[in-house]
C-alpha cells in the first residue's frame, strides 16, 4: 500500500521536451474541451468554435496528404488495440470503382470504458466531422456509426446532429461546393461485447449473428457487404479532427517516443472523483489517480490499467509512477487498452474480482470456437464458481493455469485472450489469494458496498 505523498514530481509545467503531463501549461485539451457545456451538441455551438473547418482543410489538402498527416501524427487506434490509424487508412485501395465504407466503432463495451459516450452525447458534430475526414481520405461516401444499443442519450444527440447537419448542408452531396459527398447512417447494437471486434461488428451490421470473420481478407479488402471498409474507434476519429486542424507536429509534441498524442483516460472504482480525464500519453497513473481523480477513498490493492482485459497491476509506487503509454504498460506485463482504469479495493478478493470478469467474458463469448465456448464460458466460469464459493480443492490453481495455457492464443479471435490476460496477471501478483481459495476460503464481501 502506498502512502507516498501524491504529486507528479519532475513533471511540472514548462519542463523541456515532449508534453507528458496534464499540468504542463503547453497542454491543450481538445477532445473533451466542449463536454459539459450548455447546448454543446448543437450545430450552432459547434460552428461557433471552428466546427467543420477541419474537413474543409482536409479536402483542400487532398487524400494522400491527409493520410500522410495522420501517419506523421503517430495516432494509434484508441479502441484498445492501438493500431496506427494513418497506416490503417493507407491500406484502403485507391479508385477501386467499388463503394467504400467508413464504419465507426461506437460499441464501447470494454468494462471500465465510458469515454466515447460523452464524445457522442456532448460533441456529436466532432465525431461526424471525424468520420467525414476519414471518409474523404479513404474515398468512402457512406459511413455507418455502430453505436451500442444502451447509449440512448448519445443516440438521440447523434441523430439530432445528423439531421441538423443534413438540413444545413454539412452532410449529403457536393459538400462545401467541392464535389465531396458523404452520407451517414446510424446502426444501434443490442448488447453484445463481441460487436466491438471489427469483423463481428460488420456481421452484426449486416444482420447476421455477430461472430467474428476469418482474416484475411482484411476489412480494407473485403469488409461490409464485401466492399473495402475501414473501422475506427470514436476517439480516434475525433482525434483526426484536431490533427488535421492543428497539424501532426502539434499532436506528436505530446506523449512519449512511440506513444504520441493525448488520450481520454477513465477512472472507476473507489476514488474521490471518478470520471474521464484528457491527458497526454506518458502521464503517470499517480497524476491521473491523485491529481485528477482525487485519490482513493479506501485502500486499493490493484488497478486494472486499461479496461477489464488488461492484466491488473498491484497498487505500488512502481505502478503509480508508470507512465501511461503503450510501451511502458507492456514492459510492466499489462496493456494500455482503452485507458479505462479500474481500482480494485483491498476489501474485495482478487478471486472475486476475476470471477466477475471471467463471468463477463463467459457471457460474452460468441460460441463460435471451442477454446472460448468450452474453455472460457464452460471451464473457467465453473472453476471460479467452485473456488469463489469455498469449494476450492488443492490443485485448482494449477488447473486454472493449465486452462489459461490451453485457451490463450488458440481461439478464433482475441476475446478468449482478453479473458485469460487479467486472470494471468492476477495469478502473477496475487497468487496467495488464489491459493487461499484453493484451500477452501470462500470470497468474502467485507461489509456492504451499497447504501
Amino acid at each position: 500500500m502506498s502512502d507516498k505523498v501524491p504529486g507528479a514530481a519532475g513533471r511540472g509545467s514548462d519542463a523541456p521536451g515532449p508534453i507528458i503531463s496534464g499540468k504542463d501549461s503547453r497542454f491543450v485539451p481538445t477532445l473533451y474541451a466542449q463536454v459539459g457545456k450548455d447546448k454543446s451538441w448543437t450545430l450552432d455551438f459547434y460552428l461557433s468554435h471552428g466546427g467543420y473547418e477541419s474537413i474543409k482543410k482536409a479536402i483542400g489538402m487532398g487524400q494522400d496528404a491527409v493520410i500522410d498527416e495522420m501517419k506523421k501524427s503517430g495516432l494509434r487506434g484508441r479502441g484498445g488495440a492501438g493500431f496506427p490509424t494513418g497506416l490503417k487508412w493507407s491500406f484502403m485501395p485507391k479508385n477501386s470503382g467499388k463503394q467504400h465504407y467508413i464504419a465507426c466503432n461506437a460499441d464501447e463495451s470494454e468494462p471500465g470504458s465510458f469515454k466515447d459516450r460523452y464524445l457522442m452525447e456532448d460533441d456529436p458534430h466532432q465525431l461526424i466531422e471525424g468520420m467525414m475526414i476519414a471518409g474523404f481520405a479513404i474515398q468512402a461516401t457512406k459511413g455507418y456509426l455502430y453505436i451500442r444499443g444502451e447509449y440512448k442519450r448519445a443516440y438521440d444527440r447523434v441523430m439530432a446532429a445528423i439531421k441538423e447537419a443534413k438540413e444545413r448542408g454539412y452532410l449529403g452531396q457536393n459538400l462545401f461546393g467541392t464535389g465531396f459527398e458523404f452520407e451517414l447512417y446510424v446502426h444501434r447494437g443490442a448488447g453484445a461485447y463481441i460487436c466491438g471486434e471489427e469483423t463481428a461488428l460488420m456481421n452484426s451490421l449486416e444482420g447476421l449473428r455477430a461472430n467474428p470473420r476469418q482474416k484475411p481478407p482484411f476489412p480494407a479488402q473485403a469488409g461490409l457487404w464485401g466492399k473495402p471498409t475501414t473501422i475506427n474507434n470514436v476517439e480516434s476519429l475525433c482525434s483526426a479532427v484536431h490533427i488535421i486542424q492543428r497539424g501532426a507536429d502539434w499532436f506528436a509534441s505530446m506523449g512519449t517516443e512511440k506513444s504520441k498524442g493525448h488520450k481520454l483516460f477513465q477512472v472507476s472504482g473507489p476514488f474521490k472523483r471518478p470520471g474521464v480525464y484528457e491527458l497526454p500519453l506518458g502521464a503517470t497513473f499517480r497524476e491521473l489517480l491523485y491529481e485528477y481523480a482525487g485519490g482513493p477513498t479506501e485502500p486499493i490493492q490493484a488497478i486494472i490499467p486499461g479496461g477489464s482485459s488488461c492484466p491488473p497491476l498491484p497498487w505500488t509506487d512502481e505502478t503509480l509512477d508508470t507512465p501511461m503509454d503503450y510501451e511502458s504498460l507492456v514492459a510492466k506485463g499489462s496493456l494500455l487498452g482503452t485507458g479505462g482504469v479500474i481500482g480494485i479495493p483491498a476489501s474485495m478478493s482478487m478471486v472475486d474480482a476475476m470471477w466477475n470478469v471471467t463471468r463477463f467474458y463467459g457471457h460474452e463469448s460468441c460460441g463460435k470456437c471451442t477454446p472460448c465456448r468450452e474453455g472460457v464460458s464452460g471451464w473457467m466460469v465453473s472453476l471460479f464458481e467452485k473456488m469463489g464459493t469455498g469449494q476450492g480443492k488443492k490443485g485448482d490453481v494449477e488447473v486454472l493455469e493449465n486452462m489459461l495455457n490451453q485457451i490463450e492464443g488458440r481461439s478464433f479471435c482475441a476475446l478468449a485472450d482478453a479473458a485469460c490476460w487479467p486472470v494471468r496477471g492476477s495469478l502473477k501478483h496475487f497468487r496467495d489469494q488464489f491459493v487461499a481459495a484453493e484451500n477452501g476460503k470462500a470470497v468474502e464481501r467485507v461489509g456492504s458496498r451499497w447504501g
Binding site: Q99, S109, P111, K152, A190, G207, Q266, R273, E278, A353
Partner: protein, 183 residues
C-alpha cells in the same frame, strides 16, 4: 394484423439505409421490443417473412443479444449492470434488494405487470456505479438504496423517469481536469 402492417414508411426508410435489407433485422427487432416489451414468435415469423429469411434465422440473431426478449417483460424492465465496477459499487446487493422487494427473478413479471428484472453486462457508466437502465431510457446512475426506492415509487405512480426526483447525486457525473464539468 402484423406488427409492421401500419409501419410501411418506417420500413421503407430503414431498408433504404442498407444495400441489403437483411441488415434491417436489428432495427426491426428493436422496434418490436420497444413497443411490445418482447419479440413474440409471431413477430419473429413476421420479420423473417419481410426479410425473406426463416423465423429460425431471426431467432438465431435475436438470441445473440441481451436486449431482445423472448419472454414478455413488465412495463418497466429493470436492467442491473453486474460487471466489475458496478460490482465494486454494490450491484450484487442492489440486485438482491430488487429480488426481495419485487419478489421476482429473471423471466418473471410482477403480478401488477409493472416490473421485470435482468442482470446485464457492463453498460459503460463505470464511474457512476451502480447503474440501472429502465427499458430503453437513459441510465439511472449512482443508484443507492434511497434512490432505488424513489425510482420504484415514481414508476409505480406512473411518472416518467426524467420527472422522478431521486435523492442525492442526480447521476450523469463527469469529471474532467479535476473539476465536475457535468452533473
Amino acid at each position: 394484423m402484423g406488427f409492421f402492417d401500419d409501419k410501411q414508411d418506417w420500413l421503407g426508410e430503414t431498408f433504404a439505409q442498407y444495400p441489403d435489407k437483411r441488415a434491417a433485422i436489428m432495427p426491426m427487432l428493436r422496434q418490436v421490443q420497444q413497443d411490445e416489451g418482447w419479440v413474440s414468435p409471431e413477430s419473429q415469423e413476421e420479420i423473417g417473412h419481410l426479410l425473406g429469411i426463416t423465423a429460425t434465422e431471426v431467432a438465431g440473431v435475436m438470441s445473440f443479444y441481451s436486449y431482445y426478449q423472448a419472454l414478455p417483460t413488465g412495463k418497466y424492465h429493470l436492467q442491473v449492470c453486474a460487471t466489475l465496477s458496478c460490482a465494486i459499487g454494490g450491484s450484487d446487493e442492489l440486485w438482491d434488494e430488487l429480488v426481495n422487494e419485487l419478489q421476482i427473478l429473471r423471466g418473471d413479471v410482477t403480478d401488477d405487470g409493472l416490473f421485470s428484472i435482468q442482470k446485464v453486462e457492463c453498460l459503460g457508466s463505470c464511474h457512476t456505479a451502480p447503474v440501472v437502465q429502465v427499458n430503453d431510457e437513459p441510465y439511472v446512475e449512482c443508484v443507492t438504496k434511497a434512490r432505488m426506492q424513489a425510482l420504484l415509487e415514481g414508476l409505480r405512480q406512473g411518472k416518467k423517469i426524467e420527472d422522478i426526483q431521486l435523492p442525492g447525486k442526480v447521476g450523469h457525473v463527469v469529471h474532467n481536469r479535476g473539476e465536475e464539468v457535468k452533473a
